[in-house]
C-alpha cells in the first residue's frame, strides 16, 4: 500500500475522514497528522493516553522542592549564624524557597520533557520547513515503510 496524503480545509471533513480511516482499521502508527491548531477531538478519537510528560513535571518539582530545602538547611548549618533569635534551621522561610524551586524546576523539567517528547528542535524543519499551512493533513503511511 502506498503512502496516501489527504488535505482538508475544514476541521469537520478532516475529522470524518480520520474517523473513517480509524474505523477501517488503520493503526495509529500509520497515521501522521498535521493540524493548524490544536483539535482536542483528534485526541479523543485516537484515545491518547496522558503520556510521560507528567513524570517530568513531577520529578522536576520534587527535586526542586527537596533541593531547595536541602540547600537552605545545608547552607544555614554550614555557617550557623544567629539572626533575630530565630532558630538556625527555620523551616517556614525555607519552605518558601523549596516551594519556589519546585515550581521552577518543575516548569523547566516539563519544558525539557516537551522538547524531548515532541522531538524539538527539528533540524530538518529548521533549515527547510515543511509546512502545510492552514490545512488539515492526514498522511497514511504505507505498510512496511
Amino acid at each position: 500500500m502506498m503512502t496516501q496524503t489527504y488535505q482538508y480545509e475544514e476541521a469537520e471533513a478532516f475529522l470524518s475522514k480520520l474517523r473513517e480511516l480509524l474505523q477501517s482499521g488503520i493503526s495509529q502508527e500509520q497515521l501522521e497528522l498535521q493540524l493548524p491548531y490544536h483539535l482536542p477531538e483528534v485526541e479523543q478519537l485516537l484515545e491518547l493516553r496522558p503520556g510521560p510528560l507528567r513524570f517530568f513535571a513531577l520529578t522536576g518539582g520534587l527535586s526542586g522542592f527537596l533541593g531547595g530545602l536541602g540547600l537552605c538547611i545545608y547552607t544555614a548549618l554550614s555557617w550557623p549564624l544567629i539572626t533575630g533569635g530565630k532558630p538556625i534551621v527555620s523551616l517556614p522561610p525555607f519552605l518558601i524557597i523549596a516551594y519556589l524551586l519546585a515550581v521552577l524546576f518543575g516548569s523547566l523539567a516539563s519544558f525539557a520533557g516537551f522538547l524531548l517528547l515532541a522531538r524539538l528542535p527539528k533540524r530538518d524543519n529548521l533549515l527547510e520547513p515543511s509546512d502545510f499551512g492552514n490545512h488539515f493533513v492526514i498522511v497514511v503511511k504505507g505498510e512496511g515503510q
Binding site: W79, L81, I82, T83, G84, G85, K86, P87
Partner: protein, 925 residues
C-alpha cells in the same frame, strides 16, 4: 637651669626625651620599621595615653590623649582630675578638630603692601615684632597685649614679658567674663573672684540663670557634682530663669521668671529669710535700702504664683545646706550687678560663704577684664595711641559686641600681631600672623582654679611650623636680651615647676597630669556697708515684651568653638537644630502668629533687624524669644555701665512674619514622645513589665553578654556621649545638606522629649543590641548577625546596602552611608585606626565600641584572667560628665550593669515588641 637638672626633669616627664617635637628632627622620617621596639615611644598598633589639659574653653578639664602611631586620635576626660574627673563635654571631644583643622595656619604670615599675606620665616616675623615694639615706643605709642583667659606659667611669662618690654597687658578678654559676679563679690567680700561652688555638699540648690551645664565657668565639674548630689535622696534643685536652658531642663523644678525679675525674686527671698530667723541678721540699714518687696508685688514682677514664692522661701529656710548660684543670663542684664549683690547677701545670710561658696578655691578669673576694658581699648585705638597690638589666643573681633565696632577701629593700631591658630576671617585683619601650636602640641600648664595645676604636655609633634604662645613670648624676650639665651620654653616651664613643687609633687604632676595642692582658707570679710548704695537702684522695672534673650551655646561656648565641624554636626540639645541659626519661640506665641517650624520671621529692635527661621520651643515663656548669642553676634546689645557685662537681652523687640519657610536642619521628628513610653512617666509605670514569653528558645551566651545601663535620672542631654562616639568610631561629619535631608550619621543621638507642660526629658538612643534583633533576619547577606557575646554585629564588608535592617529597626539607630564621605586633609589623621572607615553604600551603627572590648580581651588574655567589670568603657560612657552610662557583662552578677539592670527603675524601650534590648534604661524617680 643646669643641663643635668633639665635632663632629670625630662626623665620625670617621661616620654619627653623621644618626642620628636623637642629636638630638631621635625623633618625626620622613619625608613626602617622597629625590629627591637623602644621601651617608650611609638609602637605600631599600640596606643599611648598621655595627660593633657583641654583648652577649648576656660574650664581647664584634664585630658587623656590617646595617641596612635604619633597621632592623637581621641581625647578623654582624665579620671581623678579635680575639674572634670573623667568626664568631657562635647566641645572637649571636638577639640581634636582644632588640632587637625584644615584652616590651621602653617607658618608665619605677613601682610604685604597689597594686603596679601606672604609667608615669612619665624626669624623675620619675630624681628618684625621686636622692631615694631621699638618703633612704637619711639613714637610714644602704647604697645598692648590682649589675650584670652590665661593661667599658670604662661600668665606669669606674659606678665614678665610685658614688664620687660614695656608692653601694657590689657585685662584678659572673655565674652563670659562673669564680671558682675566678680564685682559683686568684690564689693561684698573683697573677693573679686568667681568662687568654687560645692554643689555636691548642698541639699538644696537654687540656681538663677546660671547655665551650669552649658558654659557657666566649669560645666563638666558642675555636672559631675550634680550627679553626685542627685544620688543623695534628699537633694532638691530649683532653677529659675526667664528663658529655657539645658540646665533648666534638667533641674528638679524649673521656675519661669518674667525677664528681668531676678532681683525682685532675690529681694523677696532676702527679706523673707532675714525676717524668719533672729540670728545672723543682716544690718538694718542694709535691709532698709532694699526696695519694698511684698508677696503680691513679687508675684506680679516675677510671674510666679504666690504659693510657690512662699514655698520657695520655706524650702530655703528649711534646707540644711542650701546653695544659691546666680550667673549667666541673670547677671547679663541691666540689673545684673544687683542680682549678683543680692545673691551674695543671700549666700551670706544663709551661711553658704566659706563652705559651699568657696573663695579659697576660686576659679582663676581674677585677671579677666570686662567689656569696659575693650571700650577703653577702642577709645585708645581711635585716638591712635596704640602701637603694636598683640592679640594672643582670643578673638575679640568676632566676640566683642557689635556696638563697639572694634573691627573698624582695630585697623588703627600701628602693627597688629595675631597669635592665632586658624586662618579665618578675623585672622585676616592682622598685619602679622604667628601660628600658635595646638595645646596638644605644646608644653604648658593651667591653673583652672586655685590649688589645681593641670599639665600640658605635647602628645604629638607639631603638625606645622607653629609655636606655643610661651615659646613666642620667650623668644621675643631673648631677642631683646631680656632672657637667658637658648632657654627653651620647656626649660622655662621646668624651671618654674621646680621652684613651685617638691620632687614628690613633680613626680605626681608628671604621672597624673594634674596636681591638687592644699589651699589656705581665704578669710572673707563681709562688708555690708558698701552694698547699700549699689542696691538703691534695685527698682523693679517691668520691661516691655517680647524679650529677645541671647543665650550661651553648649556647642560653641561663646562662639569660639563654632569653627569645629563636629559641633555644628551635633544638634543643640533643646531644639535639636544642628546647622543654621534659628529663633526659639513658645508654641503658644507661634500659634498666635500662625508660625510653624522653619517659618521665616524678621526680628527687629531700633534700626537693627535680622531674619531667622522659627523653631518652636515647648516650655518657653510666651513673651520670650531665644537665639543663641553667637549665632546673632550682630545684635545691638548694650553693655552694662556698672559691671561691664554684656546685656544679653533686648526688650520690646518687634517680630514680623515674613511668609515662606527656609530649610533648617531640625533633627527631631517630634518634640513629644506621643505617649509611647520611651521615657516612662515615673508616676504611672510603677509596675514591672511582664516576663517576656518567648516563641523560640533564647540563644546561649558563654562568658560574656555585653549590656549597657543608662540612668535617665543622671542623663542631662548634654551630648558629650554623641561627640565622643563620633571621634572614637570615625563617624563621618556630613554637613548641612545631608542634615537637611535627614542623613546625619550619628550612632548615638539624644532625643529631648517634652511633656505637655514643656518639661524636657532626654534619652540617649543608640543601637540596643537586641537579643531578638529585628534587623538581623531581614539582611539577605548575613551582614547583620548576633555574636556569641550578645552583640548585634554589622559586617561592613558583607553589607550590600539594602537598608532593610534600618527600616526594620524600631529604634531607628542604623545609619547608611549615602556617599563616600570625604575628610578634608589633614582631618583623616584623627581617624581611629582600630576600626574601619565605612564605604559608600554600607550600613553602620553603634558597635558597643567593639574595638575596646577587643582591647580589653587581649589584655585579659595576656594576663590570663577574665575581663574585669568596668574594664571596658565605651566611648560614650567614658565621656559622660554625670556617669549615666554604665557598660559591662550581664552574666556577671557582681557587675555594675547587672545591678542596674535589675534595679526597680530598670526598663527597656519598646519592651512590648519583644526585641529584648541589651540596653537597660533607668527611669527617673
Amino acid at each position: 637651669m643646669e643641663r643635668r637638672e633639665f635632663l632629670q626633669l625630662l626623665g620625670i616627664f617621661s616620654g619627653a626625651a623621644i618626642l620628636p617635637g623637642c629636638g630638631d628632627d621635625r623633618s625626620a622620617s622613619k625608613l626602617v620599621s622597629y625590629l627591637v621596639p623602644p621601651d617608650e615611644g611609638v609602637l605600631p598598633g599600640e596606643a599611648r595615653y598621655l595627660p593633657s589639659t583641654c583648652c577649648e574653653c576656660p574650664a581647664g578639664c584634664g585630658l587623656t590623649v590617646r595617641v596612635r602611631e604619633d597621632r592623637a586620635v581621641k581625647l578623654e576626660g582624665r579620671p581623678g582630675h579635680p575639674v572634670n574627673d573623667g568626664g568631657l563635654c562635647m566641645r572637649g571631644q571636638a577639640a581634636l578638630w582644632r588640632l587637625y583643622h584644615p584652616e590651621r595656619l602653617r607658618h608665619p604670615l605677613r601682610r604685604d603692601a597689597d594686603g596679601q599675606f606672604q609667608p615669612v620665616s619665624w626669624d623675620e616675623a619675630l624681628t618684625l615684632v621686636v622692631e615694631g615694639l621699638r618703633q612704637a615706643r619711639q613714637q610714644g605709642r602704647a604697645n598692648l597685649l590682649l589675650s584670652g583667659r590665661t593661667t599658670g606659667t604662661l600668665a606669669e611669662l606674659q606678665q614678665h614679658f610685658c614688664q620687660q618690654l614695656e608692653v601694657e597687658q590689657l585685662p584678659q578678654f572673655e565674652p563670659f567674663s562673669h564680671a558682675a559676679l566678680r564685682q559683686a563679690y568684690g564689693i561684698l567680700f573683697a573677693q573679686p573672684e568667681v568662687p568654687h561652688y560645692r554643689i555636691d555638699q548642698s541639699d538644696l540648690l537654687l540656681s538663677l540663670g546660671a547655665d551650669l551645664f552649658e558654659t557657666f565657668v566649669s560645666p563638666v565639674n558642675y555636672a559631675r557634682q550634680l550627679s553626685r548630689a542627685i544620688k543623695q535622696d534628699d537633694f532638691q534643685w530649683i532653677h529659675a530663669e526667664p528663658h529655657y536652658s539645658l540646665t533648666g531642663a534638667n533641674a528638679g523644678e524649673r521656675l519661669i521668671l518674667l525677664p528681668g525679675s531676678e532681683a525682685a525674686l532675690l529681694c523677696f527671698l532676702l527679706v523673707r529669710l532675714d525676717a524668719a530667723d533672729e540670728r545672723n541678721r543682716l544690718p538694718m540699714q542694709l535691709m532698709a535700702a532694699l526696695p519694698a518687696s511684698s508677696l503680691e508685688e513679687t508675684a506680679r514682677l516675677t510671674g510666679l504664683p504666690k504659693r510657690r514664692l512662699e514655698q520657695l522661701a520655706k524650702q530655703l529656710r528649711l534646707a540644711e545646706r542650701p546653695l544659691l548660684i546666680v550667673g549667666g543670663i541673670a547677671t547679663s542684664q541691666p540689673q545684673g550687678l544687683q542680682v549678683a549683690l543680692l545673691a551674695g547677701l543671700l549666700q551670706q545670710r544663709l551661711g553658704m560663704v566659706g563652705n559651699r561658696v568657696d573663695f579659697s578655691q576660686a576659679e582663676a578669673y581674677a585677671s579677666v577684664g570686662s567689656l569696659h576694658d575693650l571700650e577703653r581699648l577702642t577709645e585708645r585705638l581711635e585716638q591712635d595711641q596704640v602701637g603694636v597690638l598683640l592679640v594672643s589666643a582670643t578673638d575679640p573681633l568676632v566676640q566683642a559686641p557689635a556696638a563697639l565696632d572694634l573691627k573698624q577701629k582695630f585697623q588703627r593700631a600701628g602693627l597688629r600681631v595675631g597669635l592665632c591658630d586658624l586662618f579665618n576671617e578675623s585672622a585676616q585683619q592682622f598685619d602679622l600672623l604667628l601660628p600658635l601650636s595646638h595645646p596638644l602640641e605644646s608644653w604648658g600648664d593651667a591653673v583652672p582654679r586655685r590649688g589645681v595645676f593641670s599639665l600640658l604636655k605635647p602628645a604629638i609633634a607639631p603638625l606645622y611650623d607653629s609655636r606655643s604662645a610661651g615659646e613666642i613670648l620667650l623668644e621675643i624676650l631673648q631677642r631683646v636680651g631680656q632672657q637667658v639665651q637658648n632657654q627653651s620654653y620647656q626649660e622655662y616651664l621646668f624651671n618654674t615647676w621646680q621652684q613651685r613643687f617638691d620632687q614628690q609633687q613633680l613626680q605626681q604632676f608628671s604621672e597624673q597630669g594634674f596636681l591638687s595642692l592644699p589651699v589656705s582658707a581665704v578669710p572673707h570679710q563681709f562688708r555690708p556697708e558698701a552694698v547699700s548704695s549699689q542696691l538703691a537702684t534695685t527698682q523693679a522695672a517691668t520691661a516691655t515684651a517680647p524679650h529677645l534673650i541671647l543665650t550661651p551655646s553648649i556647642r560653641s561656648f561663646d562662639g569660639r568653638s563654632s569653627c569645629l565641624p563636629l559641633l555644628s554636626e551635633l544638634p543643640d540639645p533643646l531644639s535639636t537644630v544642628s546647622y543654621g541659626r534659628w529663633l526659639s519661640m513658645a508654641p503658644t506665641a507661634a500659634r498666635k502668629l500662625q508660625l510653624r517650624d522653619r517659618d521665616l520671621v524678621r526680628i527687629s529692635s531700633g534700626d537693627w533687624s535680622a531674619e531667622l527661621p522659627v523653631r518652636l520651643q515647648p516650655g518657653l515663656a510666651a513673651t520670650v524669644l531665644m537665639v543663641q548669642g553667637d549665632l546673632l553676634s550682630e545684635a545691638p546689645l548694650p553693655t552694662d555701665a556698672r559691671s561691664g557685662e554684656l546685656i544679653r537681652r533686648l526688650d520690646g523687640v518687634r517680630l514680623t512674619k515674613l511668609g515662606g519657610a527656609v530649610a533648617l536642619a531640625i533633627l527631631s521628628g517630634s518634640s513629644s514622645q506621643q505617649g509611647r513610653g520611651l521615657i516612662p512617666d515615673p508616676v504611672h509605670t510603677q509596675e514591672q513589665p511582664l516576663e517576656q514569653t518567648r516563641f523560640y528558645r533564647a540563644h546561649p551566651h558563654k562568658d560574656y553578654r555585653w549590656a549597657m545601663a543608662i540612668d535617665l535620672e543622671l542623663c542631662i542631654g548634654c551630648g558629650a556621649c554623641a561627640a565622643a562616639c563620633y571621634v572614637e568610631n570615625n563617624v563621618p561629619v556630613v554637613g548641612q545638606q545631608d542634615h537637611l535631608q535627614g542623613r546625619e550619621m550619628s550612632w548615638l543621638r539624644l532625643a529631648p522629649f517634652y511633656d505637655d507642660a514643656g518639661r524636657a526629658s532626654f534619652i540617649p538612643m543608640l543601637c540596643q543590641h537586641c537579643h531578638n534583633a529585628p534587623c538581623e533576619p531581614v539582611c539577605p547577606v548575613y551582614a547583620a548577625y548576633h555574636n556569641a557575646e550578645g552583640l548585634n554585629v554589622q559586617v561592613y564588608q558583607r553589607c550590600v546596602g539594602t537598608r532593610y535592617c534600618s527600616n526594620n529597626c524600631p529604634y531607628k539607630v542604623r545609619r547608611f552611608n549615602w556617599w563616600q564621605h570625604q575628610r578634608q586633609a589633614p582631618l583623616e589623621q584623627m581617624l581611629n585606626p582600630d576600626l574601619s572607615v565605612r564605604d559608600r553604600g554600607v550600613m553602620e551603627k553603634c558597635t558597643f565600641c567593639v574595638q575596646r572590648i577587643r582591647q580589653a580581651r587581649d589584655r585579659a588574655q595576656d594576663e590570663q584572667r577574665p575581663i574585669r567589670d568596668g574594664e571596658v568603657l565605651t566611648a560614650c560612657g567614658q565621656s559622660c560628665p554625670t556617669g549615666a552610662i554604665v557598660f559591662g557583662n550581664l552574666l556577671d552578677e557582681s557587675s555594675a550593669v547587672y545591678r542596674l539592670a535589675h534595679s526597680h527603675r530598670a526598663y527597656r524601650v519598646f519592651a512590648d515588641l519583644g526585641t529584648e534590648p541589651s540596653i537597660y534604661y533607668l527611669r527617673k524617680g
